[in-house]
Symmetry: C2
Subunit: 292 residues, 2 copies
């Protein structure tokens, strides 16, 4: 297991972590500048932040700073209620793939979607098995485009509390079942993103990380689970402030041969997004050395 205590060379910042500072949007290019100024070597930008900054401007700023990507957030949201919806999903995911290529991402992270409509408060139906079949079909189709572009897809199982509205793939086991079905050769074109926030509770976590193996462990995301958690979406904790044994999970992942970045992804509406961005980045660096 790599020693993270002496420096932060394996730290990546998911840009959602500093999406806001003092409650206001912090522009992506300024985030990249602040990361580079601290010797942070990698980031994982969100599509909406890239769109606001401009794709080419983002790519150029990344190059200027020599910043790598640990992943691109995110494609997916495959579920739909009609052919027009399916086509919108298809087109949008192809754009996401192209953007990931332009930015030099090592993978496109997939948040696969829940029951269609649920995210806006009105689910079109209650058929989660049907939603899961749509997801499987959507990934199968996107995988063809991804192979052509040599852009790996990383299925991110989301915590079961997001099953209704954000992602109906909710365990690593379930994600790997999809990988087995669609890429039985384990070619590297399809794998998983392990976010400790989503999977820490799973009694089969170690077993399924071992099942994944190095060729399918495409990303490692870290933050912490707070007690109490006051909001289902935007109350993630800084590493060390919660109950997740992050080093243990990282150890399991690295035991499989994972040598990539450890990406800090924190959504925190009432805490970190209210602070100064520089303070948040400095805290990420310190906690990454001490608690990851």
């Amino acid at each position: 297991m790599r020693d993270f205590s002496a420096d932060h060379r394996w730290l990546s910042i998911n840009t959602a972590t500093v999406r806001q500072q003092r409650g206001q949007d912090w522009p992506l290019l300024a985030i990249l500048d602040a990361c580079a100024a601290r010797g942070i070597r990698a980031v994982a930008p969100w599509r909406d932040q890239v769109a606001a900054a401009g794709l080419q401007a983002t790519a150029q700023r990344l190059r200027e700073h020599g910043l790598a990507l640990s992943g691109y957030c995110r494609g997916g949201m495959f579920t739909h209620t009609d052919a027009a919806g399916q086509q919108r999903v298809r087109d949008d995911n192809r754009r996401a793939l192209d953007e990931a290529c332009t930015l030099g991402a090592p993978c496109l992270v997939l948040v696969v979607g829940g029951l269609p409509g649920a995210l806006t408060g009105r689910a079109a139906h209650r058929d989660i098995a049907g939603a899961r079949e749509q997801v499987r079909q959507g990934i199968a189709e996107l995988l063809q485009d991804a192979r052509q572009r040599q852009m790996p897809l990383a299925i991110e199982p989301l915590h079961p509390m997001y099953a209704a509205d954000r992602a109906c793939i909710n365990t690593l086991e379930q994600a790997l079942d999809v990988c087995d079905a669609l890429d039985p050769a384990q070619s590297g074109a399809l794998g998983v993103a392990v976010d400790v926030y989503h999977v820490w509770w799973d009694p089969k976590l170690q077993q399924q990380i071992e099942r994944a193996g190095a060729s399918r462990l495409l990303a490692l995301h870290v933050c912490d689970w707070l007690t109490p958690t006051t909001d289902l979406l935007n109350d993630r904790g800084m590493m060390g402030d919660g109950v997740i044994d992050i080093p243990r999970i990282r150890g399991w992942v690295e035991a499989q041969g994972y040598t990539g970045y450890s990406e800090v992804e924190i959504f925190s509406a009432s805490n970190w997004w209210q602070r100064d961005g520089a303070e948040v980045l400095d805290t990420c660096i310190e906690r990454h050395q001490r608690c990851v």
Copy 2:
């Protein structure tokens, strides 16, 4: 599958559902009176409500109304940090068993506990595997007392969002692994409580219900998952108001031979607990006929 549409003979009311009316505690004996007045045949009382009403007074009122129990809520909370804590847990669970016997419950429901201290905001450690081992040992020990009293224990897997602070048994598969280990003969002394709120998201739900079989399916709890869910504990929905396909899950349970009550258990601080208790009970009856 039983037809629930014509009457509510298989409806049980978990008394937490009407713990409050108009934001104030509704005394348990009054709840029992209101249930009986509506032809509701069963309830599942909570220990704190029984303690407030008096154990003998509760037992007497149940007898007067001819009210059955669908379960007794609840034992468990097995995790601890020292021998004194372990002894407190042991004593408390034996009292819960005795109360369940006095009240004529068909089973004692177990919410097994999470990381010790987490429920009060400060987890003593991050070792969820260790907590799970304490839970296994605690159930093993309690099972001896339960067998003597012929009171079945029903392990209730709780939604993974409660893994840290309320229960580190989070899937039906995990609960049944414990059952297999501690009661391999499937004697009926140890089984599971299936609460659709906690397990609806699980891609292995049908498979694990089939694995459980009739002898281990000791209770069925119903309510609904709302989108959005605004509170991790107290924002459960009335059946029909959310995204859970309750009839499908009930069908899987009944296909195994389950013939017990369907118990409505709703925690709803901002909605149902603010209403008139009679209105809530009437709504439970109507929704149980239409949406369960």
